[in-house]
């Protein structure tokens, strides 16, 4: 099938359990593929800041804050949307969109991940 020639096989689905990640070669570029609580994400493993290995970084929900009103303490919580922080300098990206959580002008390219017949693929 022609569509198979474009996409890149990652690993069998059951090898990428929640919390796991894999780094694969996609057309000569390292791409990180993640299973975060059952959702798959894929990002280029190159930080737009200093080209650090962003996909080696820590993954957790984006920290959100709510302000109840004047004089009240800000309430912080983790959103469901995960973010990954580049281990070199902490640049933090929304894994869904690839956009830096504080500056939408800074973007890591993202890729679609599909599961088919027990195998995960990255679609460049």
């Amino acid at each position: 099938m022609s569509s198979d020639t474009d996409r890149v096989e990652v690993v069998p689905v059951d090898e990428l359990t929640p919390g796991e990640r894999a780094i694969v070669d996609v057309n000569g570029h390292d791409v990180g593929v993640f299973n975060v609580d059952g959702e798959y994400y894929a990002l280029l493993n190159t930080c737009p800041h200093e080209r650090g290995p962003v996909c080696d970084g820590s993954v957790r929900g984006i920290l959100e804050a709510e302000w109840p009103g004047p004089g009240e303490r800000v309430v912080e919580s983790y959103a469901e949307t995960p973010a990954i922080s580049c281990p070199w300098h902490g640049w933090e990206f929304d894994m869904e969109t690839g956009k830096h959580v504080g500056d939408q002008n800074c973007v890591v390219p993202t890729f679609d991940v599909v599961a088919e017949d027990g195998t995960l693929y990255v679609e460049p």
Binding site: I62, E64, A65, W67, P70, G71, H89, G102
Partner: protein, 362 residues
């Protein structure tokens, strides 16, 4: 050849001075004070005045070297001086800020001195000095040490046409002004429709003198700059511009070169640590470019183009407002703006008056 300031002023422009200082004395304020302070100061000697408001100063005149042939120095002003000073500088409207209360951040004890002084200052200025018809205005001093009292004071005087904003003294304020304890103050000022003005104290009114710096050239360089920078960082990172989007924020008396520095450094930190400023909806520099800055003491780099670039970096003439800081030793006459070789006439008018007209409504 005349060396009068008036002679180098430019009569082609309307000029609003956003930071002149009316030199009031404790004696001016006593009759406006609440008891028991009024009696304490009337009956007490000089020591009672220095207890009320601890002050420190170096010699601004460089031990007699700065000796201007002009009557309006540090020896104190009379109410009628305001109009004469404006005429001398060639300004059409003047916001006369406090002199005495630049030491305000020294008041750290939990007593009522800040409230008594602020109220006495505001009433004295309204009663004796402020004259909107003549273009003489002031900013209400906020006794931020007691936020509940501060809100009452803002609400008490906010309808006065002579009060064009509310001032917080930044020199050594603790906790810093991004702290939530000040938020009722920002809410009240935002509600008033008038701007909040941060004016620093320096040269010994800050921690540098206490920590051993010897010369006024050291404390004056550091105190003003560092205190404005410290409070700007606190306000932005703690999200005050996000929490109070209609609050106009003005910073005075540190020149303008520090603003691009903060923009670059804060943005770099924010990209590395966005989870520490989760309220922000855009990079910190964008909030800095929404604030307003008094120009004095404007930097005079060897290459004027460098100043041109800084003005562009901070957001252009729409963010800047001329300030003299008169009669202080490092005052800027209007010619510091009017003579700039790279600005258009419109841009000069914007800085000399336009921005202040929009922000202060004068």
């Amino acid at each position: 050849m005349s060396h009068d300031v008036e002679a180098v002023s430019h009569h082609d422009y309307r000029v609003v001075d956003t930071d002149a200082h009316y030199i009031e004395s404790i004696d001016d304020l006593i009759s406006y004070m609440d008891e028991p302070w009024k009696t304490r100061l009337e009956k007490g000697g000089e020591a009672s005045k220095s207890f009320l408001l601890p002050k420190s100063s170096g010699d601004r005149t460089v031990f007699g070297r700065i000796s201007r042939d002009h009557p309006y120095g540090y020896e104190g002003n009379d109410p009628e001086d305001a109009a004469e000073i404006m005429d001398y500088l060639g300004v059409d409207a003047s916001i006369q800020l406090t002199q005495l209360l630049l030491a305000f951040a020294r008041l750290k004890a939990d007593d009522d001195r800040a409230a008594v002084l602020a109220k006495a200052y505001n009433d004295y200025m309204l009663d004796q000095v402020v004259d909107p018809d003549a273009g003489v205005y002031t900013t209400g001093v906020i006794p931020y040490q007691d936020p509940a009292v501060a809100v009452e004071e803002i609400d008490r005087i906010k309808h006065e046409s002579g009060i064009v904003g509310f001032m917080m003294v930044t020199g050594g304020a603790e906790p810093p002004f991004g702290n939530r304890e000040y938020e009722p103050i920002y809410e009240a000022v935002e509600r008033s429709g008038k701007p909040i003005v941060f004016h620093t104290g320096g040269s010994g009114l800050d921690e540098f003198y206490l920590s051993g710096y010897e010369k006024l050239i050291e404390t004056h360089t550091l105190g003003f700059l560092m205190n404005n920078m410290a409070q700007t960082v606190s306000l932005i990172v703690q999200g005050i511009p996000v929490k109070f989007p209609d609050l106009d924020i003005v910073f005075l008396e540190s020149g303008i070169f520090y603003i691009p520095l903060l923009m670059s450094r804060l943005d770099a930190e924010y990209r590395k640590r966005p989870s520490e400023a989760p309220l922000l909806e855009k990079p910190p520099s964008a909030y800095l470019q929404e604030m307003y800055f008094g120009t004095q003491p404007i930097e005079e780099p060897p290459h004027p183009d460098h100043l041109k670039h800084v003005i562009e970096m901070v957001g252009g003439p729409e963010r800047l407002m001329y300030a003299s800081d008169y009669p202080h030793w490092d005052f800027d006459p209007p010619s510091t703006i009017a003579d700039l070789p790279f600005l258009s006439k419109d841009d000069k008018q914007q800085i000399l008056a336009g921005t202040a007209e929009e922000v202060f409504g004068i």
